[in-house]
Symmetry: C2
Subunit: 226 residues, 2 copies
């Protein structure tokens, strides 16, 4: 008798994340999941990104918070399609929440979907949403020891932004020490010190992001031709 | 037939928190649970507090982090008894972790036990440790909207510290707006804007804390006499 062996069982969340991803792929939407401590600058990073997109990369945003629609209002004021998810106390976004939000977005007119997770440097890393990239936003005022204290989050990152980098000296932030902490769990992860407030360093981040988005769009074109 | 009705079932965590509290009460240890986002300044607030204690209030510290012993090393360098709890990925301290840590501390020689929870503005509020007071440390760089976005944490506070208040202007932090958010969930909670770095405002916090600790100590003396 042959006994079936199932190699990898996806969790309910991972199954729905895979469904989300299939939807995104089908519609040509490149998706980035921004994770950070409260107040590190996820919304600022999303705004700085949308302001610098070429016209052929149309943005959309999903905002995650326990409560309030402060961030969604900020995004909507820029005429960017946005949905606010209130977790009602939940400490992270999950794939079912994203699935529920999708019908509220004009996905056919979105090339780059930026998801702002709940401000939390622990739990969001454990829940796939179906995004193409996970970006962790750290910030100078938090201190340079965060990469050592929250290794799971930094291990999960496809890129690390260090925001409020115009204030490194004020907070005696040792960038090398911080990076060594990251490298212990995630060697060679792209690293972007920048200031959303002054704009310094944002171009390097944008080049990297747009290269990723562009290569996704090119792959998709080719697979359509074939 | 009389049917027994049990009014309040304590969770496993709450039962152990109550045991912890009984231990603290018996030994005359007043306990404060510091909760905050990563990098808001919990360790700095604990250090600023220990530096200003009168001689008859002897401190002890429990440090909570996912990983590393950075904070415990900082505390130990001041010759303060300290235990580091590593949650190994867990997003909050809980009562069993505290119970496990207690035998490592000289509780007979501690009057004020300061517990630094994992940096997280969501989950720690949901887990009682057995402390007398819960103190939330916010900070200017996080922005003035945090009280609206993380209402559960601010609702759970017996006091709110606003740290890095020397940088309010740099971060365009509107204190009144921030306080209105707190008041929506926790009216009249004591509020202490201060800077651990400059020391400004720390005295007001110390007066309040020591009054609480003193009234705990007085109550205990009286109950011993009676």
């Amino acid at each position: 008798m042959k006994i079936p062996v199932v190699k990898k069982i996806l969790s309910a969340n991972d199954q729905i994340a895979a469904d989300n991803r299939a939807t995104f792929d089908e519609l040509g939407v490149f998706v980035v999941n921004f994770m950070a401590s409260p107040g590190a600058g996820k919304t600022s990073a999303i705004l700085a990104t949308t302001e610098r997109l070429p016209k052929n990369v149309r943005p959309g945003v999903i905002e995650g918070d326990l409560a309030s629609r402060i961030d969604a209002d900020t995004i909507a004021a820029r005429n960017i399609p946005v949905v606010q998810i209130n977790t009602g106390g939940g400490c992270h976004l999950d794939a079912p929440m994203i699935r529920t939000a999708l019908p509220q977005l004009p996905l056919q007119n979105i090339d780059l979907l930026l998801i702002e997770n709940v401000g939390n440097l622990v739990c969001p890393a454990e829940f796939a949403l179906g995004a193409n990239l996970a970006v962790v936003v750290a910030s100078a005022p938090e201190g340079h020891d965060k990469s050592y204290k929250y290794p799971g989050m930094f291990a999960a990152a496809d890129a690390v932004i260090l925001n409020k980098a115009d204030l490194l000296q004020v907070f005696e932030f040792d960038v090398d020490y911080f990076r060594r902490g990251i490298e212990m769990v995630n060697p060679d992860v792209p690293f972007f010190p920048l200031s959303c407030r002054t704009g310094a360093g944002v171009d390097a981040w944008m080049s990297w992001l747009l290269e990723k988005q562009n290569s996704f769009a090119e792959d998709r074109k080719q697979s359509v031709i074939v």
